[in-house]
């Protein structure tokens, strides 16, 4: 979104049915929040561009075009932007504009192969960009769209069950009902204590997001704890079972992204953590797959 201090024109980009769409709030950069309308992966993107002249001056231009761009930005490596899709529509050929004009555009069933994502070191965005080319400097106006990809119930969804511990000290068996959860799902599980010789103070479950960018050997990751949830306070005895019930609805989660455009991945892990009286932590991470389910009501 470039605004020049002496732009002779006002360019307004409006998407059809913007008011009727659901919006998602996102934080683009430090503190800069915005809203974007949600589109589905094969929906047509159409709207209007309104160009108004200021001070009654006429405008000489080298063409007006609108582009629909999908790009992956590597914010860790500034300036590294990779476009994975781009469509162009010419709105006006070079000439002169003497009064305000409105142009309609339509990107029919334009394919948006990936879901939008804004993470710590990488962003995947879809942008509508209007460019009014001029000799001096182009006037550009952009609008972000947000794309959701919905999936169907996975065909297989086995439970996660593991036996872990430290020989002679601690031995537990934990179970999570499924390994694939949708974003409004609930994680149901249990932790069974087979042997407890440490002085347990508490047990927690946390969800960790790991964002991985690039491919080996130039691969780097960052992890973020989305939430931490205490499920037990105090020391359990042998044979005791602690239930787990965790509603995913309230947390800032995205679907699991595996190797998007061979550029980045976002994976989620459930971490089961036991803390003893001396604050030593014993933990086991298990990966879970998150997916976006189409709500019946939307």
């Amino acid at each position: 979104m470039d605004y020049f201090f002496k732009s002779p024109i006002d360019v307004d980009l409006h998407l059809d049915n913007e008011e009727e769409r659901t919006f998602v709030d996102y934080e683009f950069e430090q503190g800069r929040k915005d809203k974007a309308p949600i589109y589905e992966s094969d929906e047509t993107v159409k709207g209007t561009v309104m160009i108004r002249l200021k001070d009654g001056r006429k405008l000489d231009h080298d063409g007006v075009k609108i582009e629909f761009i999908g790009q992956i930005e590597n914010t860790y490596d500034k300036g590294n932007i990779h476009e994975f899709t781009r469509s162009v529509q010419e709105l006006a050929s070079p000439g002169e504009m003497r009064h305000a004009q409105m142009f309609e555009f339509e990107f029919k069933h334009v394919d948006k192969p990936y879901e939008s994502y804004i993470g710590k070191n990488v962003k995947l965005r879809y942008i509508c960009r209007v460019t009014v080319s001029r000799k001096m400097k182009d006037v550009i106006r952009e609008k972000d769209l947000w794309v959701y990809r919905f999936e169907n119930e996975p065909e297989t969804n086995s439970l996660i069950r593991m036996d872990v511990g430290i020989d002679e000290c601690l031995h537990i068996e934990f179970e999570y009902s499924k390994n694939k959860y949708h974003l409004k799902d609930v994680i149901i599980g249990k932790i069974y204590f087979i042997l407890v010789r440490i002085k347990v103070q508490r047990m927690e479950v946390s969800i960790i997001r790991r964002e991985t960018i690039g491919t080996s050997p130039n691969q780097y990751s960052n992890s973020e704890t989305i939430t931490r949830f205490q499920i037990m306070d105090g020391n359990p005895n042998r044979g005791e079972t602690i239930p787990l019930r965790m509603f995913l609805n309230g947390y800032a989660l995205t679907p699991t992204f595996r190797d998007v455009n061979k550029k980045f991945s976002v994976r989620y892990y459930l971490s089961l953590i036991l803390v003893d009286e001396d604050q030593r932590r014993y933990f086991k991470q298990s990966e879970i797959t998150l997916w976006r389910r189409r709500d019946e009501h939307e």
């Binding site: 000290c169 601690l170 609930v186 149901i188 249990k190 002085k199 005791e240």
Partner: protein
Amino acid sequence: MDKLSRPEIRQQTTQQMYDVPENILEIDVINPQTHGIGRNMFTTYEIVCRTNMPYFRLHNSSVRRRYSEFEKFHDMLERESGRVSIPPLPGKIFTQRFRDDVIEERRQGLENFLRLVAGHPLIQTHSRVLSSFLQSPEFKPTP
């Protein structure tokens, strides 16, 4: 299928429910006593243990150790353990080592050290010296 129902849970026996947990380990360092005369004076500390953990031979024990024995024990632990970082001992004292407050400070330091070390699950399960240092009447470290 009722997706929100609790998974099947194994029944815990009453004995298991009310059993004493197997993690009792109480270590106190008490009763500093000075022995000997003149240049051969030294202080010993009583180490009292109360435990039900299977790593220790005795459920109750009381032994006396002097600082140099703690040092040998510390060195042996460092050589034994691969991944565990052994906490430091309270430092050497050069002046006034028989003064009450100095001894008291050392006693506290030794107690904290022992509690940290003896409470570490990897040291409990892998150390060959822990049990003998805490409970053998005499500490005979192998060089």
